[in-house]
């Protein structure tokens, strides 16, 4: 068992811990980004072949079967590429929501925002 997977899980758990304990909105966004990075890394690691080559055909690879036996798995890479770009749009939306909350309440602190919202309701 390689410690590589273990370290990726630790990175994931650091993100989960931040999501559970932080109260600052920007730090929550950073935690989500860390979780995303860990999941993407895990998927690409699952498709890695030891001493493999990138899944790009060059002039040197005349026979497709030979190439298929040496290249790393291109399928997780394609899906993770989609996931990275979706992660960016998620981050943009979260930043938009945070800036709006900051504009209204003047703080990124979630407990202060909750307190202020409760006082407004009264």
């Amino acid at each position: 068992m390689s410690p590589v997977y273990l370290l990726v899980f630790v990175l994931f758990l650091v993100g989960v811990f931040g999501l559970l304990t932080r109260r600052n909105l920007v730090k929550l966004i950073i935690s989500v980004a860390v979780i995303e990075a860990a999941v993407n890394l895990f998927l690409v690691l699952a498709g890695y072949r030891r001493e493999g080559i990138a899944p790009i055909m060059t002039e040197q690879h005349h026979r497709a079967e030979e190439f298929a036996a040496r290249a790393v798995d291109p399928f997780p890479q394609a899906m993770v590429l989609t996931s990275i770009v979706i992660g960016l749009s998620l981050l943009a939306l979260l930043v938009g929501i945070s800036l709006r909350l900051y504009h209204i309440y003047g703080t990124y602190d979630l407990s202060e925002i909750r307190k202020a919202a409760r006082e407004e309701d009264r």
Partner: protein
């Protein structure tokens, strides 16, 4: 190579911990950038050049967006650390998950042996062998992204479009100036 990979992963973990514990928001944002660029380097090591390039571009844009959140911060913006019992409960939860992961890890395929070798029905082998012939693309990642799985990419474009619309609505100058306390939105509901 594995040593390099492990040290890069350690670097990312340390950067993530710093991002969570630093007092200044701008330092937290820069540490988050270190996590992103670290993962880009790891992608390069794992023979995924397309992912490395995309990750760098995405990380630069993400840093610009996150730094925008730290502008015009008055002193009240930075939240202090939360109270004790909550942190302890979250720590215990993460520890429990880590222990169960330790039990699950030996069941995973060994590092360096791709999942596609173990599952005969996995489509990856087909993509690798026939990809060039069927799509004419030498880069098989783009062959999958834009040909074999083009519907996924269409869905991705839809998500990006929706997210951009949402962010534009939230950040439009008209909304930011005309409803300072969020009252008008509540009235419309």
């Amino acid at each position: 190579m594995t040593v390099l990979l492990l040290s890069l992963l350690l670097f990312m973990i340390i950067a993530a911990v710093i991002a969570l514990y630093t007092e200044e928001l701008i330092s937290a944002v820069i540490a988050a950038g270190a996590v992103g660029f670290g993962s880009s380097a790891v992608f390069l090591l794992l023979r995924a050049p397309d992912l490395a390039i995309t990750q760098i571009v995405v990380e630069v844009i993400a840093l610009v967006l996150l730094i925008r959140t730290t502008l015009h911060l008055s002193g009240r913006g930075v939240g202090e650390g939360p109270s004790g019992p909550r942190v302890r409960a979250a720590g215990l939860f993460c520890l429990a998950v880590l222990v169960s992961v330790l039990f699950a890890l030996p069941r995973l395929p060994r590092f360096g042996e791709p999942v596609m070798d173990r599952i005969a029905a996995a489509p990856s082998g087909f993509y690798l062998e026939r990809g060039l012939e069927l799509t004419g693309s030498a880069n098989l990642v783009t062959a999958i992204l834009l040909d074999f799985r083009a519907y996924d990419t269409l869905g991705e474009a839809t998500i990006i479009f929706t997210a951009v619309l949402g962010a534009l609505t939230l950040l439009s100058r008209k909304c930011l100036t005309s409803c300072p306390a969020g009252r008008e939105e509540e009235g419309e509901r």
